[in-house]
C-alpha cells in the first residue's frame, strides 16, 4: 500500500463497535475513497471501472434471463424467443445481455491493449497482469458457453467445432472431448452442463476481480508516463476525483451500448442463430462471434504438419500458446521503461501489433482459402514474433527518451 489512511474515526458508538470487530468501513474508506491515485491517469484508465460495471450488468441480466430460460434442446430456442416476446421488457433484457457480451469484450481488449502500451504488466505488477489474463481466459470460456445456450445453428455448430478441437490432443483428446460434451456429440447433456457452467463462471470471475483489485492496491496504479509515484503531490484521493471521472467514462461507454441495444440489437450477431439447432444441416460458414475470431484465425492458420505434429494439433498448440504467452509477458519485455510514450522503436511495433490483431479478427471470419490463408499465417507469425522476439530484443537495443523526474513535473511541463 502506498500510504495507509488513518483518517477514519468512527463517529458513533455503533461504528466504533463494528470497527473493532469487522473494520469494513475503515477498509472501504481506505480502498475506495482515500486510495492515493496518480493524478495523470487518462481515459484509458476508466476501462477498469467500465469492466466492473459490465460484469455487474451481465450478472444481473443473466440471473433474470435464467429465470425464464429452459436448458433443454427441445425448449431452449423457443424459451429465449419467448423471453424476447412475452416477458415484460424481455426484448431489452435479452439484448442488453447479448450486446453486453460484445461490449464487455470490447472494453477488455481496450483495457489489455492499454496495459500493453503503458507497460502496466512490468514489475511490480506481474501478478496483477496475470490475474487479468486469467480473467480473460475465464471470460472467453463464459462467453463461448453462453453463446451455446440459445441453441441456434451457430450455437450448435460452434460448440461442435470448438469441443472437437480438444480431440486433437494425443491419447486423452477423445476422452476430453466426450467429457466436455457429456456424450459423443453435442446434445442435451452438453447444453445442460454449459448452462450450469455459464451461470457459475461469472462469479468465479468476480472473485478473481477481487484478487485483481487487491493486486492493484499493493503497488498502486501505473500511469501514462510509467514513472512510479514519488510523493503525495503526484496523487489525488480516489474519491471524489476518480469516482467522478470513472463515472463519466462509464456513462459515455453506455451511449454506444444503448445504441446497439435499442436500435440494432442483432447487428453484432449472426443471422443463422435465429434458426434452431439442427445436427443434420451444416451451415456453409461456421464462424465464432467477433471477439473470439483472432484466436480462431490463429487456430485455422496452421494447416500444415510439422514433424510428428499434425495440422490439427498444431492449430491447438498455436491457439493455446497465443493465450499462454500473455502470462509470460512480464518476463519477455525486460525494458526498464514502462510507458510506450518514451520508447521510440517500441511504438511502431506496438501499433503494428494492434493492426495485426484487428487483421486477425477479420481473418477469423474470412473463408479459409486463397490469399486469406497466407495473410492469416503472416499475422499469426507476427503475433508470436512480437512477444517472443521483438519485445525481448527491443529491451536490449532501444534507447528510450529521457523520462520526467516525476508525475507532477510531467503534468506541469505538459502545459500546451
Amino acid at each position: 500500500m502506498a500510504e495507509h489512511s488513518t483518517s477514519y474515526n468512527p463517529g458513533t458508538g455503533v461504528e466504533k463497535w463494528l470497527d473493532e470487530r469487522l473494520p469494513i468501513i475503515r477498509f472501504s474508506k481506505e480502498h475506495l475513497m482515500d486510495f492515493p491515485t496518480p493524478k495523470n491517469l487518462n481515459y484509458w484508465w476508466t476501462f477498469g471501472a467500465i469492466l466492473t460495471v459490465m460484469l455487474a450488468v451481465q450478472i444481473v441480466t443473466g440471473v433474470v434471463l435464467a429465470m425464464h430460460y429452459a436448458p433443454n434442446v427441445a425448449l431452449a430456442f423457443n424459451s429465449v424467443e419467448a423471453i424476447r416476446r412475452d416477458v415484460n421488457g424481455g426484448r431489452i433484457l435479452q439484448a442488453v445481455h447479448s450486446v453486453g457480451a460484445s461490449m464487455f469484450f470490447f472494453a477488455i481488449y481496450v483495457h489489455m491493449f492499454r496495459g500493453l502500451y503503458f507497460g502496466s504488466y512490468k514489475a511490480p505488477r506481474e501478478i496483477l497482469w496475470m490475474l487479468g489474463c486469467l480473467i480473460f481466459l475465464l471470460l472467453t470460456a463464459t462467453a463461448f458457453m453462453g453463446y451455446v445456450l440459445p441453441w441456434g445453428q451457430m450455437s450448435f455448430w460452434g460448440a461442435t467445432v470448438i469441443t472437437n478441437i480438444f480431440s486433437a490432443i494425443p491419447i486423452v483428446g477423445d476422452g476430453i472431448m466426450q467429457w466436455l460434451r457429456g456424450g459423443f456429440a453435442v446434445d442435451n447433456a452438453t447444453l445442460n452442463r454449459f448452462f450450469s457452467l455459464h451461470y457459475l463462471l461469472p462469479f468465479i470471475i468476480a472473485a478473481v476481480v477481487v484478487l485483481h483489485t487487491w493486486a492493484l492496491h499493493v503497488p498502486g496504479n501505473n500511469n501514462p508516463i510509467g514513472v512510479e509515484v514519488k510523493s503525495s503531490r503526484d496523487t489525488v484521493p480516489f474519491h471524489p476525483y476518480y469516482t467522478m471521472k470513472d463515472l463519466y467514462g462509464v456513462v459515455l461507454f453506455l451511449i454506444p451500448f444503448a445504441w446497439f441495444v435499442f436500435f440494432a440489437p442483432d447487428i453484432l450477431g449472426d443471422a443463422s442463430n435465429y434458426i434452431m439447432a439442427n445436427s443434420q444441416v451444416t451451415p456453409t460458414h461456421i464462424v465464432p462471434e467477433w471477439y473470439l475470431r483472432p484466436f480462431y484465425a490463429m487456430l485455422r492458420a496452421i494447416d500444415f504438419n510439422v514433424l510428428f505434429i499434425d495440422s490439427k494439433l498444431g492449430g491447438v498448440i498455436v491457439m493455446g500458446g497465443s493465450l499462454l504467452v500473455l502470462f509470460f509477458l512480464p518476463w519477455l519485455d525486460r525494458s526498464k521503461v514502462r510507458s510506450g510514450t518514451f520508447r521510440p522503436m517500441f511504438k511502431w511495433f506496438y501499433w503494428l501489433f494492434v493492426l495485426n490483431f484487428i487483421g486477425l479478427t477479420y481473418l477469423g471470419a474470412a473463408p479459409a482459402e486463397g490469399i486469406y490463408v497466407i495473410i492469416a499465417k503472416l499475422c499469426t507469425l507476427y503475433y508470436f514474433l512480437y512477444f517472443l522476439v521483438i519485445l525481448p530484443v527491443l529491451s536490449r537495443i532501444e534507447t528510450p527518451r529521457p523520462l520526467p523526474a516525476s508525475i507532477s513535473e510531467s503534468v506541469l511541463g505538459a502545459a500546451h
Partner: protein
C-alpha cells in the same frame, strides 16, 4: 499530443473491432450473384414505425397464400390486436380465431374453434407431412424468419450499417426472394425435379413454387383510401413487412425506449462532464 492520438486510435479500434462483427454474418448467401436491393421500409432507420395497414395487408397475404405451407408457431391470434402490430380490433381477432379449428384432445371430438389466446395452427401435423407435401423440403417456420435471413454487403458499406442501425436485411431478402423467380428456368439451367429457379436463392434451385402472381390476393379499399396495387412486388413488400413484425413484435416500443434512454444518457454525460471538470480544475496541472 498523446490525447489526440489516443482518441484517433480508439476510433480506429472501435470501428475495426465492431466492424468485424458483420462481415460474414450473411455469408450463407455467398452463392447468390445478384445484388439484393434495399427497400424503403416504413420501419427502417431510427424513426421508422410499422404501417398497420401494410401489416394488415401482409397478414392477408400470409393467411391466404403462405400459411398453406408455412407455420408460424409463436404467433397467437391475440398478437394481431396488440399495439405496434397490425392492430386489428379485438372483435375482428375473435371472429377470425373462431373460423379456425384447433386440435384439442381434452374436448369431445378432438377439435374446437380457436380462441384469441390460441397459437396459429400449423398447416401440417408433423414435419414429415410437411416434407411429403413439398417434395422433401420443409417450408421453414415463419416465427423469426425475418431475423434468420439477411443480405451481404461489400466492404465499405457494412461499416455504415452500424451507424444507420440497418436491421432490415431480413425483409429485404424475403422481398427479393419472392420477386426473383424465373419461370421457366433460363436456357441451359438444369433443375432437379420439383425445384424452381430463383435468382437470389443460394444455389438458385428452390423447392418453393413461386407463391405469388399479380392479382392473386384481393385487397379491399377502405373509404377515402388510395387503392394499393395488387402486384407481386406489392404483395412481397407487404408480406415481408408482416414477417418483420412477426419476428420483432416489440420494435416500436424498443425504439421509443431507446430515445428516452439515449436522451437521458447524453444529458447525464454532459452533466457528469461539467461536474468532473469543475472538480478537477483545482488539481495542479489540470
Amino acid at each position: 499530443m498523446i490525447k489526440t492520438k489516443s482518441i484517433c486510435a480508439a476510433f480506429v479500434m472501435a470501428l475495426a473491432l465492431t466492424g468485424m462483427g458483420a462481415l460474414p454474418a450473411t455469408a450463407q448467401e455467398a452463392g447468390a450473384e445478384t445484388v439484393i436491393a434495399k427497400q424503403a421500409w416504413t420501419f427502417g432507420g431510427l424513426f421508422g414505425t410499422y404501417d398497420k395497414h401494410q401489416l394488415q395487408r401482409g397478414f392477408q397475404v400470409f393467411k391466404e397464400v403462405c400459411a398453406s405451407c408455412h407455420s408460424a408457431n409463436l404467433l397467437t391470434y391475440r398478437n394481431l390486436a396488440e399495439d405496434g402490430g397490425p392492430e386489428f380490433s379485438d372483435a375482428q381477432v375473435k371472429a377470425l380465431a373462431a373460423t379456425y379449428k384447433i386440435s384439442d384432445r381434452t374436448v369431445k371430438g378432438g377439435t374446437r374453434p380457436a380462441t384469441p389466446a390460441d397459437h396459429w395452427p400449423p398447416p401440417f401435423a408433423t414435419e414429415q407431412d410437411g416434407r411429403d407435401a413439398n417434395g422433401g423440403s420443409l417450408p421453414p417456420d415463419f416465427s423469426v424468419i425475418a431475423k434468420a435471413r439477411g443480405i451481404e454487403e461489400p466492404f465499405p458499406w457494412w461499416v455504415l450499417d452500424y451507424f444507420t442501425a440497418y436491421q432490415e436485411g431480413g425483409p429485404d431478402y424475403i422481398h427479393a426472394l419472392l420477386t426473383s423467380f424465373v419461370e421457366p428456368a433460363p436456357a441451359g439451367v438444369q433443375l432437379p425435379p420439383g425445384k424452381h429457379f430463383n435468382k437470389i436463392f443460394p444455389g438458385h434451385a428452390i423447392s418453393m413454387p413461386p407463391p405469388l402472381t399479380d392479382g392473386l390476393v384481393m385487397y379491399t379499399v377502405g373509404k377515402g383510401e388510395q387503392p394499393v396495387p395488387m402486384t407481386v412486388d406489392q404483395y412481397s413488400k407487404d408480406v415481408s413487412a408482416f414477417l418483420m413484425w412477426l419476428s420483432e413484435p416489440h420494435l416500436i416500443a424498443r425504439k421509443e425506449a431507446g430515445f428516452r434512454v439515449m436522451l437521458f444518457l447524453i444529458v447525464f454525460a454532459g452533466l457528469m462532464y461539467l461536474v468532473k471538470r469543475r472538480l478537477w480544475s483545482s488539481v495542479e496541472g489540470h
